[in-house]
Amino acid sequence: MGHGAKRILRWVLVGAVLCVAIGPSLPLVVSTLGQESPRPVWTDAFSRSVQTTLWLGVGVSVVSLLIGLPLGLLAALYRFPARWPLVLFQALPLLLPSFLLCIGWSNLAAVTWTSWLPAPDGLAGCVFVMGLQMVPLPFFATWAACHNLTASQIDASRLHGGDKSVLRLSARACAPVAIVAALLAGTLSLSDPGAPLIFGCRSMAIEILTSFSALFDYDLAGRQCLLLAGWVLLLTAPVLLVGLRWLAAAVLARQTRPAVPYPHRALSRIALAGVLLVLFVGIVVPTFGLCLPAAQNPMIGRAAAKVGDTASTTLIFTGGAALVAVLFAATVALAASESSRARLTSLAVLFALLAMPPALAAIGVSRVATHSPQHLDWLTRSPLTVALILGLRFLPVATISMMRAVASLSPSWTDAARVHGVAAPRLFVRVILPNLGSAITVSLLLVTVLAAADITTTHLLQPPGAQSLPVAIFTVMANSPEGLVASLCLLYLLCVVLLLAAASQIPRLWPRRVA
């Protein structure tokens, strides 16, 4: 294929994926742009919420980066007991919607024996809870990037300057992708009204929720969403412009040995303590607060029945979303692999989309489905719809991971394949896919947990009779006994912990690169 044709195909594919990603949000945005609205967008309250939102986004990015980057480095570079399961469990904070984590913290604050702890509140409280919740994004980005360092690089830096030098080298290598992931974490927090509502902090997400659900003013909501998208583009584009250059760091195909975790006595202990501490503060403590009522009135049986009723639907929605996200992300990553402009465009658009409240796409799809013929209901009004929209929503998360992984593939592998006449599908299945394995695993995991926590999309699109467990928790929590809600949350977490523990055995199936 000629160079010109390749370029055209590249932009066609990237454009197609971006169009599919933007598509669900378009109906409301288009109708917004065509309307005169009686309510002005830019009010004092809205401008204050913009400031609050920007601080929230920055705060969440910084907190998640400051914890996620060093923790990811330590977890990747040093050996400690139960390393692989503990690494997987780092995804748990993303599983629960921030509403529930905040309720857990505020329950704890009301208990006498924890009254000495400062209760999270206001903007600081939101940054604390959401920052901790988003740690997994830069954590996994760092961890995956560390796997592209070779043993020679690590050994050389260890010889020259000890483990301080190793950490410095690794941090410099992983920082670009970790910063992009932290930026993504901050962006994701912009569309979540959960913590701001509980902690009394007025963000743009709350303004948009108010426009949708209290004022039923879709035009106003649409314009607010466009403003939010504009801000996100303005702030993320420069960072992406700089950071993307370092995202594409191909590794020479002559890898004598990839780096292996090192049994450093002190740093291994610090790594173990770090992962445990983040798990403890990020998920165990708020879950304990959330589940306190279960101690007084456990309703495990009833909760188990609910879990049983909703398990398959939950798996279809979240697993389907993960598959969709990974497929589209891999398409974008491969298509944009030779063009930094294509990568920048893709990521900038996807970041802007991620900042949008989920209701924008969900209501848009609902409207399209309403006007579509009945024979398209399998696409527009089925469990597939939920999986598709959730997958597209979290496409940026998978895209970052896949871009980094694709960039680390050596071009010599494909040259060798061309010389030997290895057909593209065969090369893909035998070589490319296995070498993208860890990126695919991380992407599947992150999108699954993020999709599970997205109540709004699921609630607006799930077909009658198909309810996911997280939505079920939110529909019963208003007036169910607190013990039931607490038991549901506990069982939900336990199921995911078991799934993750099972998933931690998957690497045994992948060929090990080093004996």
């Binding site: 000629g2 040995r257 990839p258 040259d415 060798a416 006449g421 065969r426």
Partner: protein, 247 residues
């Protein structure tokens, strides 16, 4: 006699830089030619153009008398040219075993399973690494990886083997052993060799002729004895002195 490889008027850019400027280059059947040139002179590019991995904007490449590419068009794909290549970074597929690498390398030939297994065994035996069949490249030493790459290339039974500075990082003894291996296999199988190198040891160990790439074209191409006796280019003179052990 028609040379196995005939290149005429090759012009190629790398980005904005002109690397090949009307280069003509012939390689006869069974010839072992060392391709010399300063860094950035276009040696690897010339190899890639001959292999079909890159297409020259102008000029033609004929392989065994047939047009393989011409003026920016690829007419014969890389895997049908009877050419194998050892890359600078070896390009071994890290997740496959040694046998897996050789096996996948036969994909373009569409052999039966038995034939494939025979070729793999033969190639590994020929490179003296049958015991490494189930190991993965990441667990091998540099020299062993070289032999695996060689086995993968030779399993194709190529007419021409392209070596793009593949011996970097090897100690002298290992390098000599691998060169000897290639020379023995060459005499058995009769393939031609183009070796891109800066090292006189490698040239002495394998090659019978020498070509110098300078200013985007082949400035000098002659049998080793002729070059040694009467070098025309500065690089040719430097090599002649090195070959004669005069430093």
């Amino acid at each position: 006699m028609t040379p196995f490889v005939r290149c005429r008027g090759l012009t190629c850019h790398l980005g904005q830089q002109l690397v090949l400027d009307g280069a003509d280059f012939d390689v006869a059947d069974g010839e072992s030619v060392a391709l010399l040139g300063s860094s950035g002179s276009g040696k690897s590019t010339l190899l890639r153009v001959i292999a079909g991995l890159q297409i020259a904007e102008q000029g033609e490449v004929l392989i065994a008398g047939q047009q393989a590419s011409r003026d920016g068009r690829l007419l014969i794909p890389p895997h049908r040219r009877g050419i194998a290549m050892l890359f600078q970074d070896l390009a071994l597929w890290p997740n496959l075993t040694v046998a897996g690498n050789v096996c996948l390398g036969l994909a373009g030939l569409r052999l039966s399973r038995d034939e494939c297994q025979n070729r793999i065994a033969h190639a590994l035996d020929g490179c003296k690494i049958p015991e490494l069949a189930d190991r993965r490249p990441g667990t091998l030493s540099g020299g062993q990886q070289q032999r695996v790459a060689l086995a993968r290339a030779l399993a194709m039974q190529p007419k021409l083997l392209l070596l793009d500075e593949p011996f970097g990082g090897l100690d002298l003894i290992t390098k000599q052993a691998v060169l000897l291996q290639i020379a023995q296999l060459k005499s058995q199988l009769g393939f031609a060799v183009i070796l891109v190198t800066h090292d006189p040891v490698e040239v002495r160990g394998l090659c019978t002729s020498l070509a110098v790439l300078e200013g985007g074209h082949i400035a000098e191409h002659a049998p080793m004895d002729d070059i040694t006796a009467n070098p025309q280019t500065a690089l040719g003179k430097a090599f002649a002195r090195a070959m004669q052990g005069k430093g």
